[in-house]
Symmetry: C2
Subunit: 324 residues, 2 copies
Amino acid sequence: MTVTIKDIAKAANVSYSTVSKALNDSPLVKPETKRMIVEKANELGYTPNFSAKHLVTRRTNTIGLVWPTIERVALSALVTRVNQHITNSGRTMILSINHALEAVELFSRMRIDGILLFEEEIPQDKLPNNIGIPLLSYGVPAIEQFPTVGVQHELAMELAVKEFVEIGHQSIAYAGVINGTGRRQQAKQIGYEEAMRKRGLKSQRIDTRGLDACDADSAIERLLTEPTLPTAIICSSYDIAIGTLRALRRNGIQVPNDLSLISYDNIPQLAEADVPLTAVGVPIDKLAKELVETLLALIEGEQAATGRKLTPELVRRNSTKPRA
Amino acid sequence: MTVTIKDIAKAANVSYSTVSKALNDSPLVKPETKRMIVEKANELGYTPNFSAKHLVTRRTNTIGLVWPTIERVALSALVTRVNQHITNSGRTMILSINHALEAVELFSRMRIDGILLFEEEIPQDKLPNNIGIPLLSYGVPAIEQFPTVGVQHELAMELAVKEFVEIGHQSIAYAGVINGTGRRQQAKQIGYEEAMRKRGLKSQRIDTRGLDACDADSAIERLLTEPTLPTAIICSSYDIAIGTLRALRRNGIQVPNDLSLISYDNIPQLAEADVPLTAVGVPIDKLAKELVETLLALIEGEQAATGRKLTPELVRRNSTKPRA
DNA sequence: TTGAAAGCGCTAACAG
DNA sequence: CTGTTAGCGCTTTCAA
């Protein structure tokens, strides 16, 4: 049997409501009594029962993160930051890597304070429409069912294309999942194509068919069988950039001398790639902060701040070079 | 206000205890009534309250995974598998990426059914000794405080050294964290050194000082300033191997022609590296299965099966070559 | 087959 | 300051 406040009450010769107050550091208990009770509690190895407490207070101080795809570097970095921000706010984050539907259902049953949804594949209208607790989605909403913190992906691509054009490139390809179902991916592709179109440039798609570094690697291998190569490539994510870099190097193509690269994402790891990568994206910490703050506001009942789109920034490193 | 079984009871004109039975598909309720109640529940958008249910049944069907370091590929793969096995057993996994102490404390307060601890840095005696729920640790126990599923790391290193020696190598280095605090890392290093010693070979340590691919990358760069190189390297993990491979390639050293590599870990990703990597380790699915099964047994109250150490296997791919 | 009632561990009025 | 008591939402005897 685990020890409850009643056990402590018995051991301390007080009523269990006094124990409750003492353990919650209520000013309604004499410091002396309080000290004595806390001591007894420690002696007995008391651990408060989360469920019982939750049931009566209706507060869990817990936020759930739905994150079905753990094996992606850029998202790992973001999740780590989000966890820090949540911890700093005095709350706790728990995480589910199950399918989004099941994860949301779980958190919803748990009645935790809020849900952060990192998932872009499923249409949001497949989610229960009334989950009872605030849910904030990250990415690109399919429909406006839930509040979303997004990124101006189109602008990110515009920045990348602009940068390349300004240093003389014309033949600029985009490496990523082409015409896929992921909405973040779609937005990037569209942004790229629009940026090219409005400059009268021909878009060139390199379909990686997947989001892992090795998917990009294979895609570049296929590209290299073509007669001509682009002079610049925009990679749709950190992992894609890493795979691209790897394949190019293996084939003796030097970045940035032979070919320039800009990656999407804005995480410190980009600086530590083989060739420090010029990149475009919302700084990860800004993103994490915005996500947490918005969700907390939602939890506090504020309706505001939804549908925001954060502004990406260009960070110049060493993977681009003017076209001679 | 969220809807409770009382609301359903009112809407269905039955007592709320009948609703409870109906929703739990009890045979004590007339099928007709049951159907009617379930229908009302759906109409009202009822979601069972996990805490309330838990409080009375004392079962959560939930297992918590403590996993403070999400940014490591081999562990991600393992976690994904563990989640699958837990799901298959009809339970749910939740995850915390907080510091192990806080995470264990959280899960302990939640009174979930069991804890899986993926953390090797902190001494286990820093953990509360009486957490009230079964905890299974993965790795190398510092002390025998908790049951552990481990790996025969020493044997893994023995296998790797043996393989190299059999194909003619003598100058075999080990790349990993040297004399670090992580117990899994320590065990590998010791295994390597023992395997070398007993063959009268001189051990050569390449200290990566960290566990990321880029740590390995830098370490290899440092190594390359030395006058002579080993002919073979054993890498202590997937990430280390990837970084090693990258640095070698960048410096024009071909694997396996100029230098042979064996990696620790046994995950499918190894086959997809630039050079498919020969590796040694417990197959990840076996590991995941063992972890989940052992924890479930512990939850069922069986004391058995603890302190097990799984046997690693050698998987030959293309990163080794006989020494001429 | 259904309902009434007790109680899981805890907090929060309210009374003393 | 401390104790009494009424629930939080649910399951589970026990009666009807």
